[in-house]
């Protein structure tokens, strides 16, 4: 049988990710460009993933797009919602997954995944940046730290500080007044992580949290948020360096199913 290559493209609000799968089993190439829908990100990510794999568009048996910018992608044979793709991708990486907590740049979602890797139920955040990657970006800016350093700094916290989880704008002014009071930056960061965990934890309880629990999306790289969520939900949460590619991976898997 010939080798079957399929491509999954996930155009998020803040990043574009691609994965090429061989025979629906092996990741042969992946790419990530840190700008998303409406930018040059998608085409750059596609060019990169093909180049990394030494492949051409014609080699792809099926290309499936997902994510916020999925509708505006001509190269794709089909588009699907990222919720279905995330469920599938997580099941590939963690075969026993039943709950996926995905915190992306602009939204947070919790998925209940069936034994077969299909989406069973889900909830998404309301139209508010609280509890999303955007929230962390805003806070990092106020604190004058790189968003990538939040986890390390938060881990050094000594004193518990509460930051409200209802609204990004409120939280921003809370952070500023804490800074003005001279509160240690690490304590504030830890408070911010717990604030995100509180918000997303509430969302997760709405669909029900069933093990194994997996965290994906850009924010999964922040172990401060991940540990705060473990405490919040009183459960172990797994993640993977591939977690950011989860949507694209799921899309590539669906693409493989489409051509079978």
């Amino acid at each position: 049988m010939n080798t079957l290559y399929t491509m999954g493209i996930d155009i998020g609000s803040t990043a574009s990710k691609c994965v090429i799968l061989k025979d629906g089993k092996e990741i042969v190439s992946k790419s990530l460009v840190s700008v998303g829908a409406g930018t040059s990100g998608p085409s750059r990510a596609i060019a990169e993933v093909l180049e990394n794999g030494g492949l051409k568009r014609e080699d792809m048996a099926f290309v499936l797009a997902t994510g916020y910018g999925r509708n505006s992608l001509e190269i794709a044979d089909k588009q699907m919602s990222e919720l279905s793709c995330h469920a599938h991708g997580a099941h590939f990486l963690f075969p026993n997954v039943h709950t996926v907590i995905d915190i992306g740049g602009q939204d947070a979602k919790v998925l209940h995944v069936g034994d077969d890797g299909n989406l069973v139920n889900f909830v998404m955040n309301d139209k508010c940046a609280a509890g999303t990657g955007r929230f962390l970006d805003v806070m990092a800016r106020v604190l004058e730290v790189d968003v990538g350093d939040l986890a390390g700094l938060g881990a050094k916290s000594q004193v518990q500080v509460e930051i409200s989880s209802t609204c990004t704008v409120f939280a921003e002014s809370e952070v500023i007044s804490q800074l003005a009071k001279g509160t240690d930056r690490c304590d504030i960061i830890d408070g911010i992580h717990r604030s995100v965990a509180g918000r997303v934890g509430g969302l997760a309880r709405r669909v029900g949290v069933q093990p194994d629990v997996v965290m994906t999306g850009g924010v999964a790289r922040n172990c401060g948020v991940l540990h705060a969520l473990e405490k919040e939900l009183n459960t172990e949460i797994q993640t993977s360096p591939l977690a950011q590619y989860n949507g694209a991976l799921g899309a590539a898997l669906f693409a493989f199913e489409k051509c079978r």
């Binding site: 919602s81 919720l83 279905s84």
Partner: protein
């Protein structure tokens, strides 16, 4: 005329309320704005005036209304006031302000203050206890007061016979809408979600006799269609309002047919007729209000039994729906408080659902699109 053309006509009317208002005004009619919910619109019609429905706007933004409204008021109420303030509803000679929720109640006073020199503001407070005889009496006394106020506006003393005739017209238009909802659910290929909404919404911007004629003609054509073999999913919609064409198109794009609805602007507004054989037409309208049921805005002394939740779940089952989509108007207390009960009943009945927060000022529906597409995948 083909079905598609008829649907397009309704859609056009639904999208141009101001043109409709001007049309009736140009005929020399007076016009009365009717805000949600359960206002006895029959009295306006009986007085020979044009009742103009007021359900917010999908194209306007809230600005002047902010001077009066707290920021947590739902967009429906704020935009109604906005349209009164910005001149959109200048043709109105009066407005009826029912007070079924904690947002409508204070806003009726905002409108009164804001409109004091412009138009008559007719206050309507339905009774909490609508079932006992005293509740019916109370409703009657409210409606008598409204009748008198409308007579002042029209300059004509409405007769019982005129009201009885209005009841007949309204019952006919309600029956036609109920039938249309069934036919639209049976023929989703012919009636998209966008068009379905257009047909139902147009009823708020037409005289109901003209509307009923037009809708009965459409229904006749739909009835003649061969049975459909719909391959998409079947959903029930719920909420106060979901009339944004951009949002509804997402349902169409994802092959979601609306087979029934529990929406205040739609089925909940025409579920209940008024008796036609009552010698006292005001009593008949009060009985109609008493008979309204299964609505989040109405007091239910058996609410702990979750009758409403179960009613909606049964509606899903009876219509063989695969799932329910709840369009929740942002910051609507009655809806938010009701949600846990609805969820409980749906879960117990094994009916999947999603809840989408909406607001009249939303122009981008990216998140709703993702959720609806995923929901359709799950149901398929």
């Amino acid at each position: 005329m083909a079905i598609a053309e008829k649907l397009a006509e309704f859609r056009k009317i639904a999208d141009n309320p101001k043109t409709q208002l001007e049309h009736y005004k140009s005929k020399g009619m007076k016009a009365v704005g009717v805000m949600p919910y359960f206002a006895p619109e029959e009295l306006v019609f009986a007085a020979g005036m044009f009742p103009a429905g007021m359900w917010g706007s999908n194209t306007k933004s809230i600005s002047r209304a902010k001077e009066y409204c707290a920021s947590f008021y739902c967009s429906l109420v704020q935009l109604d006031l906005e349209m009164l303030l910005d001149g959109t509803m200048d043709g109105l000679d009066a407005v009826i302000t029912p007070t079924c929720c904690d947002t409508l109640r204070p806003n009726s006073q905002n409108i009164k203050v804001a409109m004091k020199n412009k138009m008559k503001v007719i206050f309507l407070a339905h009774p909490q206890n609508r079932f006992p005889e005293c509740g019916v009496k109370y409703t009657e006394s409210c409606y008598k007061k409204i009748r008198a106020e409308l007579d002042e506006v029209s300059g004509h003393k409405t007769t019982d016979e005129e009201i009885q005739n209005a009841i007949k017209v309204y019952n006919r238009s309600r029956a036609a809408r109920r039938e249309f909802v069934k036919l639209a659910g049976a023929h989703p290929e012919a009636v998209s979600a966008v068009m379905r909404s257009g047909v139902l919404k147009a009823s708020y911007f037409m005289l109901k006799d003209e509307y009923a004629d037009k809708l009965e003609a459409l229904n006749a054509e739909l009835k003649a269609l061969p049975a459909s073999d719909w391959k998409g999913v079947r959903i029930v919609t719920s909420g106060i309002i979901c009339d944004n064409p951009t949002l509804l198109k997402i349902l169409d794009d994802n092959k979601c047919a609306i087979v029934a609805d529990d929406v205040a602007q739609e089925t909940r507004s025409f579920r209940c007729d008024a008796p036609e054989d009552d010698a006292d037409p005001i009593h008949a309208l009060a009985i109609q209000f008493r008979n309204q049921d299964y609505d989040i805005l109405l007091y239910d002394k058996f609410s702990s039994q979750n009758r409403r939740g179960e009613y909606v779940a049964k509606m899903c089952k009876d219509n063989h729906a695969d799932g329910l989509i709840l369009f929740m108007q942002q910051f609507c207390d009655p809806e938010e408080m009701e949600y846990p009960y609805l969820k409980k009943a749906l879960d117990a009945a094994g009916i999947p659902h999603i809840r989408l927060g909406i607001d009249h000022q939303m122009r981008d529906f990216g998140q709703a699109q993702t959720a609806i597409q995923a929901f359709a995948d799950v149901l398929d």
